[in-house]
């Protein structure tokens, strides 16, 4: 296995182990009470203990789950406003929190307390576990604003108004269905929307997740959905929440959500869930304070990162400005040098330089080239033949290896890769192999590769023949007369002739023989200067493009990852160390040594929806839209694809890899904490993840 979970902190593991050992001792040593009233009791024997490595769902993710799973879409009568309430908002404002703060209000907390610490550890106290509580601030506000009243069991304050009639109850979303108030919470489901049983599990099956018959649909004929989000736990001393109806009176104290234990009011199987909200609430507030502080720090760090990113961006922009000026200058320079070169060339064209090369006749040159070319082709053909023969024998060897492999492999090792290889081999073997090696073909090749003489070609016959009719010779005759002129005049005539020649060449009347036969130093120098200037210009332009691209590239919101580019964080997990380098790549390094494995190179930033529980320390993704970095085309996987990693970022004070999972073969998911994604308060704000968050 090349992936392992990211363990919780050492302290947590130690604690958890301690508690587990204790639990096991209790489970295994406890002698069942012979007179116990319920078999369920047996399991509850033992000191309940806290498993703080457990992760706890946030209230928000729970309620979201209800929305989706129960298909609970608040109607006009039950709007989000009704859920939140005006008072709630006022309260939130009065608490001095910013709107953003309200928006991303998951509060995560684990109560890290042994049950023994509770005052209520009497003999009949047989809770299975004490866990932690997650809550949602606005719910607290609602609670505070709602007032107790005399609501039926399990009804949240925002729904209280539906339960006021003392005689008749009308189902919330099916007003035509009226039942006597006595049937509310009588543990029998009367309403097609379940609203008559806010305090029991009697209507828990009214969900698109359950199979249904006309008995459930008799009143509506519509899709089944619940009108209520769950059983309302008041959680006095802590924050109120809704518990799924499926968890009501099932014999389990769901302290993660319901610290007051009120959802087990029927004590089925003898279970008693004490109210531990005081304790939990206290712990919550303590942890929450720490977390808020941490988030504040994280926010500050993010600000620093934004500033740094801004600085880096400014740098690039400045450089772009400089480059622009540089390019302008370079362009001018190039233009100028081009002019210079043209002039030098013009001047030099008049000079006739006699070629140092001994000319041979056209035919002779052609024969020479043909001979050389033929020789090259022959050599190449021979080399290709050798390579072909060697490849052919290697192919045969490989095919025989694979045939043996197919015959001899042990299918019981259940190795998908081996199976795939065998199947691919079978497909390959079944395909048309193309023409067989052809002896005649080979004989042809032999003949072709024989020496030219043996093929009846005697190059010597054609070599060395002069070709007398050339332009070069003609031009010689043109100049012949100058030899008869005085030296001074000769110079003038020479100059004029040169100019004339240049004019003739420029006008295309005379062929330019000079350029092909070599340049003068002046031209070469001018050319070099021009080239150098052009290079400078190209480089500047390239640099400009790069910087522009760099500027346009997606570095995430506020350009923030500009500040982290190339920075790496790593963690140990199982036998590997995993490393994530921002905007670069992910890597797996065996602790025992050996080569690093590239798990993907950065390709782009995306936004993806996550729905994860939050551990009590807040080191987790939570629910909503998160920034993710896609890494692709890592090292190829035997039995699989090229490795790829999705790095999903959550808000944390420090850069930290939380969790690594291999979701599919060689497709990894890393959960990483970084202050870069902390917006204002904490997590990246879910955009449309949870309707109520918008409020």
């Amino acid at each position: 296995m090349n992936i392992a979970s990211c363990p919780a902190s050492t302290k947590e593991i130690l604690l958890a182990r301690g508690s587990s050992a204790e639990w096991l001792r209790q489970r295994t040593l406890a002698t069942p009470d012979a007179n116990r009233t319920s078999p369920a009791d047996q399991k509850h024997v033992g000191v309940p203990s806290l498993d703080i490595t457990r992760h706890y769902a946030s209230f928000a993710s729970q309620t979201k789950a209800y929305d989706e799973l129960y298909g609970w879409v608040p109607s006009g009568r039950v709007s989000h406003d009704a859920v939140l309430g005006t008072d709630g908002r006022i309260l939130l404002r009065s608490s001095g929190l910013s709107l953003k703060r309200k928006l991303c209000m998951w509060k995560r907390l684990a109560a890290t307390t042994w049950l023994d610490d509770f005052p209520s550890s009497n003999a009949t106290f047989k809770m299975k576990r004490v866990v932690s509580l997650l809550c949602f601030n606005y719910a607290a506000s609602v609670y505070a604003a709602g007032g107790e009243g005399s609501r039926p069991r399990g009804v949240g304050p925002e729904f209280a108004k539906f339960y006021k009639d003392a005689v008749t109850f009308s189902c919330i979303t099916n007003l035509s269905v009226n039942i006597p108030v006595g049937r509310v919470n009588d543990d029998y489901c009367d309403c097609p929307d379940g609203s008559d049983e806010p305090g029991t599990s009697a209507c828990a099956h009214l969900s698109p997740l359950s199979p249904h018959t006309p008995v459930d649909q008799s009143h509506t004929g519509h899709n089944i959905s619940l009108a209520l989000p769950g059983f309302y736990c008041k959680n006095k001393g802590h924050t109120p929440t809704y518990v799924p109806f499926t968890s009501v009176n099932d014999g389990i104290c769901d302290y993660e959500l319901c610290c007051d234990g009120s959802e087990e009011w029927d004590h089925v199987g003898g279970v008693k869930c004490e109210d531990i909200c005081q304790q939990i609430g206290k712990e919550f507030r303590k942890l929450d304070e720490a977390r808020q502080k941490s988030l504040g720090d994280a926010g500050r760090k993010r600000k620093e990162l934004v500033a740094e990113a801004g600085r880096l961006r400014k740098e690039v922009e400045d450089r772009l400005m400089t480059l622009g000026t540089e390019i302008e200058g370079s362009e001018l320079k190039v233009k100028q040098l081009e002019g210079e070169l043209a002039e030098v060339e013009r001047r030099e064209k008049g000079k006739v330089v006699r070629s140092a090369v001994q000319k041979v006749g056209k035919m002779g040159a052609l024969v020479g080239l043909a001979k050389q070319r033929t020789q090259e082709l022959r050599e190449t053909l021979e080399r290709v033949r050798q390579e072909r023969d060697s490849s052919r024998s290697r192919l045969e060897e490989l095919e025989s290896v694979l045939s043996t492999f197919k015959e001899e492999y042990n299918p019981n090792f259940n190795d998908e890769g081996v199976k795939r290889a065998v199947r691919a081999w079978e497909d390959y073997a079944a395909r048309d192999k193309g023409p067989e090696p052809d002896a005649a073909h080979d004989r042809d090749l032999n003949a072709i590769t024989q020496s030219d003489k043996e093929n009846g070609i005697d190059w010597d016959e054609y070599e060395g023949e002069e070709d007398s009719d050339t332009d070069v010779c003609k031009s010689y005759s043109l100049y012949a007369f100058e030899n008869y002129l005085p030296a001074s005049l000769r110079g003038w005539v020479d100059q004029k002739l040169r100019d004339l020649r240049v004019t003739l060449i420029d006008s295309g009347i005379l062929a330019d023989t000079g350029s092909s036969s070599g340049e003068s130093k002046a031209v070469a120098d001018a050319q070099q200067r021009l080239n150098s200037a052009r290079n400078d210009l190209d480089n500047s332009r390239k640099s400009l493009t790069e910087h522009k691209e760099g500027l346009d590239k997606d570095f995430g919101p506020d350009d923030i990852f500009r500040a982290l580019k190339g920075q790496c964080i790593s963690t140990d997990s199982g036998e590997y160390t995993y490393e994530f380098c921002f905007m670069d790549k992910t890597t797996q390094k065996p602790k025992k040594g050996g080569g690093h494995t590239n798990m993907g190179n950065f390709v782009r930033i995306e936004r993806i929806m996550v729905d994860e529980d939050l551990p009590p320390n807040g080191k987790g993704l939570g629910t909503g839209e998160r920034i993710a970095m896609k890494h692709e085309n890592g090292q190829h996987c035997w039995n699989g694809p090229n490795r790829a990693t999705t790095v999903i970022l959550g808000c944390a004070e420090e850069g930290e890899i939380w969790k690594i999972m291999e979701e599919e073969k060689c497709v990894y998911r890393m959960e990483v904490g970084t202050p870069a994604v902390c917006e204002a308060l904490g997590q990246a704000v879910p955009k449309k993840a949870d309707g109520r968050d918008e409020l």
């Binding site: 363990p7 002698t31 078999p39 299975k128 997740l209 299918p411 969790k659």
Partner: protein, 967 residues
């Protein structure tokens, strides 16, 4: 019938497994049969019962068979025969070899192997029903040269034993049902010394006589003394020793059973011809990689029990032999006798059974119903275990959940998505280097914390423990295995080493009592680190699978405890392991000894009797529609073979199922007795919550349907555990008189609830055809649409719908509140669904106990019969339990568990004006006025039946009560 085309790219490696022609004794016996058949009536079977040796007393007939081995010298081999008549009406024929019994043989290669023919199969397979018949008697009216024994219920059964040639015919009600050696294929390869014959002599023809004889009867000596396959040579220290006999079922056209194979429930012919197999059915437990469908090839387990069925009559035989076994099946059409007017032609099913070694040891069941035959078989080999409640919930497995955090995460995600499940599983990767009884310290640093999290919602962990023990220094388990000498030995009687998952390994020999005791010790909490009470065990690879062994298993000349050769015990081997594990899980420390909980063990390999110890699954299937389709028949076959706690990997082990296939597989899996999703290590994750809309929702509905019907399932398990009744039943079992439906194997009945499910096993289906055998009214489970039988009905089956019908005349108990696991439903109220049939009556059963302990054996259970009477319009609950010393205490704990709802489907029109019913409960004072409960009636419409609901009658589930619809 399912399709038989499978993807070329995924198929079994035939070359790794023997064909009949490659298995020496198979070829010899087939040749022998061919020879006998070719001679037809002139064939003279060389087996004769020495009439003077026949004795009969106390239901046991004994005698000596004489096998003539040399017609010129009249030399014979003495074969002791015992025919036992049991009080249950079952008969047993046992044939041994005297010289082997007395040990007067010599073994080659200085072998330490036992000289007797293996006679301990019954020690493992048989647990009851062996009481001898007191009424069986020899009849005087037997014809000359035969002996007749009258036995069975009301002395309606007869066994006619023919002396020369030897043969036995079983009759019921004066009609012959089963004939042994009618075809003369009986063959007991007696022990003989190997005569090294110089080749020259042969050429000179000195041995002509014996060679000719050999040739004449088709004997081929080439495989007598050694046999090589796949690079391994079997030394065969005892030479040829196979046994075989033909068994004819006259007038029977269908035979079922001899699990485990992939072909249709109604077995095919095996001697070629259109649509038939060319190979006999093989039983030799093997780890068959990527097994193929519609094949007589062997698989992981063997149940040599066959039923023959014709309209209104079922008989069966159980071939108690643990060695490699093959069965040929031929269905001979007998044309109408022109002289007997009015009697048409019929089909005789001729079967031919042969095993490589051991005894001829056959049990004969004369029915007359499928239920009788399965019950008689189960009485012998044991009823299926009554599992813990959690074991019939949903199991989530994968090779592999890679870390303890991974397990916790999956557990949380099920809760988050409100999907019920009971058990999560760990395949081999949790161990440290494939060393069982260890945890990988890097990936599973906190196994106890993980098990504790599961326990928080009453969930369990099942971890794999295989029989191969890694051969690695410093591993205490292997050190003890070696030092205590508890492993299987090779032919030289030293420890046998082979290869499996861990590489070089040794195999625990669970035939050894001391090995089993040691094995049990390994599971003690103190010994198996970080194991918790909610940990249960999966025994895989127990065929045994040996990667480098012949046919992926052990060499046949390996030696087990008692010096039995592996060849003798091979098919039982897997059962010995789960037997040991079952014993180990009974109590894992002192405290548990006082209050035992029912163990749970899953096995891949099995034999007759394994049903007592746990569940089985059909091994490594594939994520394809044809494998989904095949699973239904395979599970039905396990059901009628006495091992009903069966399932197939939901989703398919190899490959990635499409979301539609996965969804349909969950819908089918909801009707597997053992319901587990599993996947190969190279597949993509496919936990139900990953499928997304609408698949996750539909899969969750299937899971919740399973959970809501758990009371019915648990009741079906209870019935299986007391009478052998299959938990899911094929059409012929439920309707034995329906000639048209005898081969139907793609739909199933859940216990005797009248629930008839037809899993959708084809892509894109919008409807299915469902076969109704009788003239009863059937109702769609979800919308109450009525279908009038008999005949084939087309019912809608869009993706979100499982085609299920309710047969009229039944009452089905349900628990409708969705919970996180089955344990959390313990105190939930019940809903009773009364499905009125043509008669206007209905009845059903409910069995209930604590779901985990053995206290039900002391009366701690509720067993009710619910009956609705049309004429009196009353529904009543009657007690079927027998009071024990724990009854009262249990009833006390269940006192508050009530019936919350009664749904009556097909409710009479006359209830239209009714608004309440009278409810009376036992134990209330007679003068107390009868309680009233509200009744609402809903008219039939659009082909959907009328129905009514009784609102909260609030009667205790454990009490007697009556609901009066007439008052």
């Amino acid at each position: 019938m399912r399709g038989n085309t499978i993807c070329r790219s995924l198929s079994v490696k035939h070359e790794n497994f023997k064909t009949c022609a490659q298995s020496g004794f198979c070829k010899r016996n087939r040749d022998y049969a061919d020879h006998a058949s070719s001679l037809s009536s002139s064939w003279d079977s060389p087996y004769k019962l020495d009439s003077s040796s026949i004795k009969f007393s106390n239901g046991v007939l004994s005698g000596t068979l004489l096998k003539t081995i040399d017609t010129t010298t009249a030399e014979t081999v003495r074969l002791p025969l015992i025919i036992t008549f049991l009080e249950s009406g079952t008969a047993r024929i046992t044939i041994d070899e005297e010289r082997r019994q007395t040990g007067e043989i010599e073994l080659r290669h200085d072998s330490k192997a036992r000289k007797e023919r293996y006679n301990e199969a019954e020690k493992w397979a048989i647990v009851g029903g062996m009481q001898l018949s007191s009424g069986a008697a020899v009849s005087r009216d037997a014809e000359a040269g035969s002996t007749k024994v009258v036995y069975g219920p009301g002395s309606t059964f007869e066994a006619v034993i023919f002396h020369a040639p030897f043969g036995v015919e079983f009759e019921r009600g004066g009609e012959t049902q089963i004939k042994f050696n009618e075809k003369g294929y009986m063959n007991v390869e007696h022990w003989r010394p190997k005569i090294e014959k110089p080749i020259e002599e042969k050429k000179e023809g000195e041995d002509a006589t014996s060679e000719e004889v050999a040739k004449e009867i088709g004997e081929d000596e080439s495989t007598w003394w050694e046999e090589s396959f796949g690079g391994n040579t079997d030394s065969k220290p005892r030479g040829p020793e196979s046994v075989g006999i033909d068994v004819t079922f006259p007038g029977y056209e269908h035979v079922y059973g001899i699990a485990e194979h992939t072909g249709p429930l109604s077995l095919k012919q095996t001697r070629g011809g259109e649509g038939n197999f060319n190979e006999p059915y093989r039983l030799y437990n093997s780890d068959v990689f990527e097994y193929e469908l519609d094949s007589p090839m062997t698989l992981y387990g063997s149940i040599p029990f066959m039923q023959a069925h014709k309209k209104d009559s079922t008989v069966g035989i159980f071939w108690l032999n643990a060695a490699e076994t093959w069965i040929d099946i031929v269905k001979a059409k007998v044309s109408a006798n022109p002289l007997s007017l009015g009697i048409g032609g019929h089909t005789d099913t001729q079967t031919h059974w042969f095993s490589e070694s051991g005894l001829i040891d056959v049990f004969v069941f004369l029915g007359p119903t499928p239920k009788d035959v399965v019950r008689s078989y189960s009485e012998l080999t044991g009823y299926t275990q009554l599992p813990q409640q959690f074991a019939i919930g949903y199991h989530q497995c994968r090779w592999n959940y890679v870390t303890d955090e991974d397990v916790r995460d999956v557990d949380r995600k099920f809760d988050k998505h409100l999907i019920p499940y009971d058990v999560i599983w760990l395949d081999i990767e949790y161990t440290e280097g494939k060393k069982y009884f260890t945890w990988d310290p890097l990936t599973f640093p906190d196994p106890l914390g993980m098990q504790k999290q599961l326990d928080a919602h009453d969930r369990k962990l099942v971890a794999i423990i295989d029989p191969h023990i890694k051969n690695e220094g410093g591993y205490s388990v292997v050190d003890e295995l070696k030092s205590k000498d508890l492993a299987v030995h090779n032919k030289d009687d030293t420890i046998y080493e082979g290869w499996c998952w861990p590489g070089s390994s040794y195999w625990i020999d669970c035939f050894s009592p001391s090995a089993r005791k040691w094995w049990a010790g390994l599971f003690q909490y103190a010994k198996f680190p970080s194991s918790a009470p909610n940990l249960f065990i999966w025994n895989d690879m127990n065929e045994p699978s040996v990667f480098n062994g012949p046919e992926t298993t052990m060499p046949k000349d390996n030696l087990h405890h008692g010096h039995w050769e592996h060849r003798d015990v091979h098919n039982i081997n897997g059962m010995t392991l789960i037997n040991a594990t079952y014993e180990a899980l009974l109590s894992r420390n002192k405290a548990e000894e006082k209050s035992l909980r029912r163990p749970f063990v899953l096995t891949r390999s099995f034999y007759s009797g394994s049903q007592r110890l746990g569940a089985m699954w059909t091994g490594d299937n594939q994520a394809s529609w044809d494998h989904l389709a095949a699973s239904v028949g395979m599970i039905l076959s396990m059901g009628i073979s006495g091992f009903p706690f069966a399932g197939a990997d939901v989703g398919g082990f190899f490959g990635n199922p499409s979301k539609e296939l996965l969804t349909r597989w969950y819908q089918a899996g909801a009707f597997y007795p053992f319901f587990r999703g599993h996947a190969h290590i190279d597949t993509r994750r496919r936990e139900p919550y990953l499928a997304g809309a609408p698949y996750t929702e539909i899969i969750t509905q299937a899971l919740r349907l399973r959970y809501s019907l758990l009371p019915a399932w648990y009741t079906a398990f209870y019935q299986a555990s007391t009478s052998g009744t299959p938990i899911v039943q094929p059409n012929y079992y439920v309707h034995p008189g329906d000639e048209k439906g005898l081969a139907v194997d793609d739909q199933l009945y859940l216990g005797n609830t009248g629930l008839l499910a037809k899993p959708v096993t084809s892509e894109g289906a919008e409807s299915v055809d469902i076969y109704l055998a009788d003239a009863e009214t059937y109702y769609d489970y979800f919308d109450f649409t009525t279908y009038q039988g008999p005949g084939t009905k087309t019912i809608p089956a869009p993706l979100e719908k499982i085609p299920i019908l309710m047969q009229g005349g039944h009452i089905v108990p349900r628990r409708e509140r969705p919970r996180r696991s089955s344990g959390l439903m313990k105190f939930d109220p019940f809903t009773l669904v009364v499905v009125l049939g043509n008669s206007g009556d209905a009845e059903g059963e409910l069995y209930l106990d604590d779901g985990e302990s053995f206290e039900y054996e002391a009366g701690a259970y509720i067993h009710r019969k619910f009956a609705y009477s049309g004429p009196t319009s009353t529904l009543s609950s009657e007690d079927l339990s027998i009071e024990g010393k724990k009854t009262k205490q249990y009833l006390q704990t269940m006192m508050d568990v009530r019936v919350e709802k009664i749904i009556i489907i097909g409710a009479p029109e006359s209830w239209k004006i009714k608004s309440e019913v009278g409810v009376s409960e036992e134990g209330t004072n007679k003068s107390t006025p009868v309680k009233k409960a509200a009744l609402s009636w809903h008219a039939a419409s659009g082909g959907k039946a009328a129905w009514a609901v009784v609102r909260n009658p609030a009667v205790a589930i454990g009490k007697g009560w009556k609901v009066d619809f007439a008052s």
